[in-house]
């Protein structure tokens, strides 16, 4: 079976050596699984499932409290028995588990196609998005997807229904064709579209100025969304390991400069660190979970730590309470 979709058994078999060696699945080995859904399932099986509590009170078997009726409340929720006993109108409230509304916002700009090794950033990001979508679907959460470069090029509203996961996987399997990265416009569009509160997971290399990013992320937070910022980077972008002089070409703009890496490394690392610190500061200010991920890291480890930390923290929407550093 040289062509066609590999089945689950083979995918598990392919990941076995790496898993056996380190206990975790090597991202490169994971990327060899062609079928994104199977890839996601393999990744999901590697970490603990998280539990999301609904921020809403609604229909549920688990009683929460009574509240005195006030005009405008839905009369359907009046407790008529209590009214019979006490002649007062009370509204019966339940605490119910409900669907988490999750928006996966995936960067498909040209810079995501970069990879110093066999694994490109976009592959890693797609696998991560697919894994999250699969995991959330198994949790009966509604999952949506927004693909962007300079604007949103694909949008699937979050839903929990049959076929949703397949649609998401279909969109994710497309190769990125965008050019530059511009987070401002897409996040504005997401904020305008996602009216209901939910979780917004942004997967991007964030190789763009942070100017408008703060406003857009702030707008999302203002609408009650939880925001999870996953910055996916190639190891070469983190360490800049080049040694010989060469012409460096920007994969997005095509601009070329002649560079002696030995001399340019210090400047690069300085500016890179400054940019990362700026992003971190921004995230802390806005109460956003922020994580920087290298494509060399095993995906399920990252997701495990990320979601594990979230589960431990519970539903925290207050500003300044996020602990992004706990994820790494």
């Amino acid at each position: 079976m040289s062509t066609g979709e590999p089945h689950a058994g083979r995918a598990e078999h392919a990941s076995e050596p790496v898993a056996a060696a380190s206990g975790w699945i090597d991202p490169v080995a994971l990327s060899r699984i062609k079928n994104l859904q199977i890839r996601a399932r393999v990744a999901v099986e590697g970490f603990v499932r998280g539990i999301h509590k609904s921020p809403f009170h609604g229909f549920s078997v688990e009683f929460s409290e009574y509240r005195q009726y006030s005009p405008g409340d839905d009369p359907r929720y009046l407790d008529w028995r209590l009214y019979a006993r006490s002649d007062r109108h009370y509204i019966k409230r339940f605490e119910d588990e409900t669907n988490l509304r999750t928006y996966l916002v995936l960067d498909s700009s040209r810079s995501m196609t970069y990879g110093s090794g066999p694994l490109k950033k976009c592959d890693y990001a797609r696998t991560a998005a697919a894994t999250l979508a699969y995991f959330l679907t198994t949790q009966r959460d509604a999952v949506g997807l927004a693909l962007f470069d300079e604007r949103i090029v694909e949008f699937i509203p979050p839903r929990y229904r049959p076929g949703q996961l397949r649609r998401i996987m279909g969109v994710l399997e497309r190769e990125p064709a965008g050019r530059a990265t511009d987070l401002g416009t897409p996040l504005e569009q997401v904020a305008a579209t996602a009216r209901k509160r939910g979780l917004v997971i942004i997967l991007s290399d964030l190789l763009a100025p942070t100017g408008l990013l703060a406003n857009r992320l702030g707008a999302l937070r203002a609408r009650g969304h939880e925001v999870l910022l996953l910055r996916i980077l190639d190891p070469a972008e983190i360490t800049f390991p080049f040694r010989d002089a060469a012409r460096f070409r920007d994969v997005e703009s095509g601009r070329e400069i002649i560079l002696d890496p030995a001399r340019a490394r210090a400047e690069y690392m300085k500016r890179f660190t400054e940019h990362a610190a700026e992003l971190k500061r921004l995230a802390v200010e806005l109460g956003i979970d922020h994580a920087q991920i290298s494509t060399a890291d095993p995906l399920e480890v990252v997701l495990f730590q990320l979601l594990g930390a979230r589960a431990r923290r519970g539903r925290t929407t207050g500003r300044g309470h996020a602990k992004p550093g706990a994820m790494r």
Binding site: D244, R249, L259, D260, H275
Partner: protein, 695 residues
Amino acid sequence: MSFLAPLYLLGIAAAAAPIVLHLVRRAPRGEVVFSSLMYLKPTPPVSARRSRLEHLLLMLLRIAALCLLAFAFARPYLSRALPGLLGPARERVMVLVDTSASMRRGDAWPKAVALARKAIESRAEGDELAVFAFDTETRPLLAFSEARALDPAARRATAIARVEAASPSWRATRLGQALIEAVAALDFESAAEREQAPRERRIVLVSDLERGGRLEALGDFDWPSNVQLEIEPVELPGANASLTLAEPGRAAHDRPNEPRRVVVSNEPGHDQDAFTLVWSSDGGKPQGAPIPVHVPPGESRVVSAQAPAGLGGARVLTLKGDAYDFDNMVSIAVPPAETIDVVYLGNDRADDPAGARFFLERAFENAPGRTVRVLAEARQGASAWPAAKRPGLVVIAAEPPDPLRSQLVSFVESGGLALVLLGPEPPRATLATLAQVDPRTLALPLVSGDWMLGQIDFAHPLFAPFAGAGFNDFTRIHFWKICDIKAGALGGARIVARFESGAPAVVELARGKGRVVVLASSWRPVDSQLARSSKFVPLLATLLESGAPGSRLGDRIAIGDPVPLAGAEPLSIKKPDGSTALATGVFKDTDSPGFYTATGSSPPFSFAVNLDPQEGRTAPVAREVFEQYGCRLSRRAPTPVDVAQVALERETEQESRQKAWRPIIVSLLGVLLLETLLAGRARGRAPTPAEAFTS
């Protein structure tokens, strides 16, 4: 260390190119695709010391490659002094000058002298020099031994003087034989001289190299490896046509006024194809109408030329229309009609077909150009044979009367020829008298049986005409009754033929000036098949002619051929140029074409001598033919002018033998391989993941 093409060493200057190129700082050629340049700004590379060192090694390798390439193209070699290459090499040189009749054409001889002079003058003083001339035979003009005795300074002048004193003869060319003899003369020296003599030998051949030069004599000759043949061809403009007799000697057997067949040959490339034949008497004016002949170049025509009436016995036929006239004339001597008497001493009748006389008379009937009478009137008691004049041949078949026997002895002793038949009545007493042996010891027993001739001496004049392969079969002639002549019974007789039993069949005795031929049988039909065989008539004709040689030679003699003469007395022979020579037995001085007249015999006779027919084939032989015969051809002698050329050839030979460029090219390939490896390594040294991916 020397170089065959030292100019290529200038290519080493190209080694400066890598140095310049390495000094020029170039923008890095490699390209790295990166996700974003937002953290980067241009930083042109500055060479580090380490990379400069590595590039220095690469540069040195590249310089080495260019130098090796230039070195290989310059073709170096280790020059070794080869003995006798360029120094004052001594050679043993023979200048061989053609003096054959064909050198009489136009200005061939002056040209030959000039070429020989040039060849002699180009020799160094240290060379051993000899000059030989050749035509039919090779003769020294200046032998090595004579030249060695001369003062070295005067040697060349003497040699030139000898050549200038020589002149072409009328003889034919025997070039092959001359070369063989020249090679032998080059080697002809004592052991002591051989030690000192130069090893290199050279024959400078000055000749017109005509096709008729009989070069095929070289066929079996093993040409020595140390003898070089240098050809100086005598080149003449135009081509030649020649006239030769179709059947030399035919005139002796033809009737005087029969047309004569001649061959007109036209050499290839001749611009003439229309000729005429003109008859004349010896030294006289043309007679009769010219006979037109058309012969295309490269072809031959046989023409029947009818001589005009009244032309004498000495006739000349001349070919007109050819520029080179040395071979345009044939002399034809028509012998006068004569009557020869043959005396038969026997007892059988002329009309008895069982006897020997019957066949003898018929053997001489219809002989062209002469009349033979067989006289057989001798009987018991006759005191003399009936011939009025001296007979040409006496055939003795039976014992003659005593008076006749004494006449016979005096006849033979005075130069006559007798044939003794040992038939049923062998003339034992006569034979014993002629052989000067005791009759009582001469046993001639008759033996019956069946024999053939088993051993024949074809070198003897009697059987010489039958020596050819088509005529030498005598096995059909059976002999049933023979006389067994014991060995030594006839004294010092020469046995010309033997029966297959080994018994003598034909014996020749010399008595006084004459000869006696003994046949140990007879040609009677009961004795043998000889008379009825095809050999009988020519055998008797040959026997009769051998009694009077020279008289009927006609025109069969070519220049240089010996002419047999009858009798033991010297004959005075007048040559075409008017000079007179005395000769006895054989006349060898046939050195010019024309008519020769022998006087002193009775009657006087004339014969014609003509040019060798091959001498008219003057088209030159190609040099390649000499090579095909194994001759080691050389160019001209290495005159001082050619020294540089010779030196270059020797250097080329040395270089091609050493082939030093091969290891240099191999080294060059090794350097290039090393350079490629180093360059590849320098470029791909410690590849980073990004470099590996993007490259």
